[in-house]
């Protein structure tokens, strides 16, 4: 019984501590994702272990490995982030940073850190936010709303194809989505480093996710710090879904859109106008 009491006291005490920590208001240099509170001090330890080689002790992205890395590591002092659920020009939410750490960035040196515990990842978010004064003066933007997806049928895919031409996506991403458009070689990021447009034909997923919803979000928020703008003011939600459905056909993945496209194409290839400058895009 004595042991039972001791265990009960221990568990109760532990529970009270957890309750207290969970109930505390969010302080500066903290982050919160799905009820998990991250602390910058704890995050600093993890940052030293996992992140410092690329992002540097100062957080400016000039770690000892940065010289060898392309694209360059994120500069946390600038606090300009590609993958956000918030409008262009605003800070991302804690969840956005958490998901970026978890997912990593395909085709870059940033690996998916999903094996780290959620607590570690939220601690890292808290520490990353400590590098820039922007987090003290600005709150994160309000996440954009994403309407229900429209049907991914051939009509939608063809409308998306027209938009791909009309919006001049091909100038950077190339007519076939290979990232080899006429402007591709001239592109630079916000730090004047050369940057390549996304090649739809090689990646198994996007830098900011892998679902149709993720792709939609990329259009509407843009990738801050890169030439990829936000189209939130240029296209309607239904148009964005059409574009999503067309872009899916450019990927070497077994998506429903690709299946529909490849079934339709042999009989209708002659009806398609080629994408590119010949169609008045230049």
């Amino acid at each position: 019984m004595r042991m039972s009491n001791a265990v009960a006291v221990l568990v109760s005490g532990l529970g009270l501590c957890l309750l207290a920590s969970g109930a505390a208001p969010l302080r500066a240099q903290e982050a919160q994702v799905d009820g998990i509170v991250g602390n910058a001090a704890a995050g600093k330890e993890h940052y030293r272990r996992y992140c410092i080689g690329c992002h540097a002790k100062e957080g400016d992205g000039n770690g000892e490995n940065a010289l060898w890395i392309d694209p360059k590591p994120r500069d946390f002092i600038a606090a300009t982030f590609k993958c956000r659920s918030t409008p262009t020009g605003t800070l991302p939410t804690d969840a956005d940073l958490f998901h970026a750490i978890t997912r990593g960035f395909v085709t870059t040196n940033m690996p998916p850190w999903g094996p780290l515990t959620r607590q570690v990842r939220v601690d890292l978010v808290a520490y990353i936010k400590s590098f820039s004064a922007r987090w003290k003066t600005q709150g994160p933007g309000t996440p954009i709303s994403i309407p229900a997806e429209t049907p991914a049928n051939m009509e939608s895919i063809l409308r998306g194809r027209e938009l791909f031409q009309k919006m001049e996506c091909w100038k950077c991403h190339g007519p076939a989505g290979h990232g080899d458009g006429p402007s591709a070689s001239t592109l630079t990021d916000s730090k004047d480093n050369p940057i390549r447009p996304y090649n739809f034909s090689s990646g198994s997923r996007f830098k900011c996710g892998e679902t149709n919803e993720d792709l939609y979000r990329i259009f509407m928020t843009g990738l801050d710090g890169t030439p990829m703008p936000s189209f939130a003011d240029n296209i309607q939600p239904q148009d964005a879904w059409d574009l999503v459905h067309f872009l899916r056909t450019l990927q070497p993945l077994p998506t429903p859109e690709a299946a529909a496209w490849h079934a339709w194409l042999p009989a209708h290839a002659g009806e398609l106008k080629p994408i590119g400058p010949d169609q008045g895009g230049q």
Binding site: R48, N65, P111, P112, W113, P115, T117
Partner: protein, 504 residues
Amino acid sequence: MTGWSVKGRDCRRWAWPCTSLICGALLVGVASNLAAIAPRDHPARATLGDAEGGRGRAAAYEAYVVGTGGVLSARSAASLGVHRTASIPAFARKYNLPCSSCHTAWPELNAFGQTFKDNGYQLGNDRDSPIWLNPSYIPFAVRTTPGWRLERTTHQPVDDGSGGTVEKTLTQSGFDISGADLLMLGTLYKNITFGFVPTVADGEGVGIEAAFVRFDNLFRSRWANLKIGKFELDNMLSEKRSMMLSSNGTFYQTYHFVPAGDATDFGLGDNQIGAEWLGHSANSYTRFSIAVLGSVDGVPGLPSAKSSYDATFTLSQAFEAGKLGLERIGLYGYVGQRPTSFETSGGEPIPGTGSNGKAFYRIGAVGDFFLGKLELLPLFMHGSDSKDLAGGSRSATWNSGLLELHYYVSPQLVFTQRDEIIRMSQQADPAIPKKLGNIDAFTFGYRWYPIMFSRAGLAMVGELSFTKTIGMVPLSGDGVGLDPLSPSTGVRSTSVLLALDFDF
């Protein structure tokens, strides 16, 4: 306590030693350790050498071993000559990640490193295939450990000059260097990985520590990964990734223990030859492996039996415990057999003709628990060898347990401690004292990594390890030793190591 019953035997007698083990392990402090290593009779380093000699093995198998030039002894020596192969800066160079990304403190893997390994040494960033690499990149690394060490063994039979024998404590010390591991691991193509690890040791020539090809994510499933060749078993507590390097501390006694008089040539920590099927969840929190292996304990060549296979499994599950960290529990088992009859020619056994295989098995549980910066690694094992292998009238059975602690002051400094005990529960020969072969082992050390980045690693190592074995010379990874004159004598062995462990 009923849960401790093993094969119908009440294991309450384990309560005290296990409690002592845990409590002792928690006393992480130099003072207590120094007190513990001030033995009355100067515990001494002892060695394998002929650790298994002179203890009547199953006659046929022993005859076979003799007939094949003492292969068993060679295997045993190889078994304990633990090569440490598993921190590979070639991957750090490939991915521009520091050692600490994949290792709690190299060579031990952390959760991220385990996932990386499980995924076929790939990050999964669509840039894993060598076609994306600079052609000048070569997946090659070297690891070796020069340093100074002291070894001491008590109760060594020594001629007294008048035709008799007395027991003495023997001590030797000096500068030394470990063998070198040449680590060649890389990606042949997306989801196809190779590993080739020759080892070079002065006086021992070149050996093949590992050589395998693995096919990952078969059928686009993380649960379908196949590895074929010679490799370390998927032990959750990896001996190849041990942070301890001294002669006594570099291996787990549990993984290599065989009872007195037992002819089983097997070490759970030894790399084995066979095929392994592995599966894991996306973050490797859930993992399993099953393997079919040749009954050769990793020594290239066909088995001594006409046809013989061993089998093993591991299963583990990790779960998050908030700020404490990631906690993992696992089960493992190994079953094998060795021949006890051979065809003969001129009375000599013919290699490869063994039959009438008799079984042995090892089964147990293991954990990996984090309390913030403190990592606790408990392991329990129950072992049993057939009476025909153990050379008696009944099977030999024993239990063993260990608790290893790592305290990570920072990614560049870790203190380590291990307590380990092995207790015979039944000798194959009832005439053999029950305690014969019982082992108590303790190791304390530190590793400081003044250099840790994505190109190379250097660790400064200090370690103290001692072992006590009843009636036998303690198992050790190096040197020679003899059994004491009395089977009830506890032979103590001490290892001290100050070394530079570098990996480039």
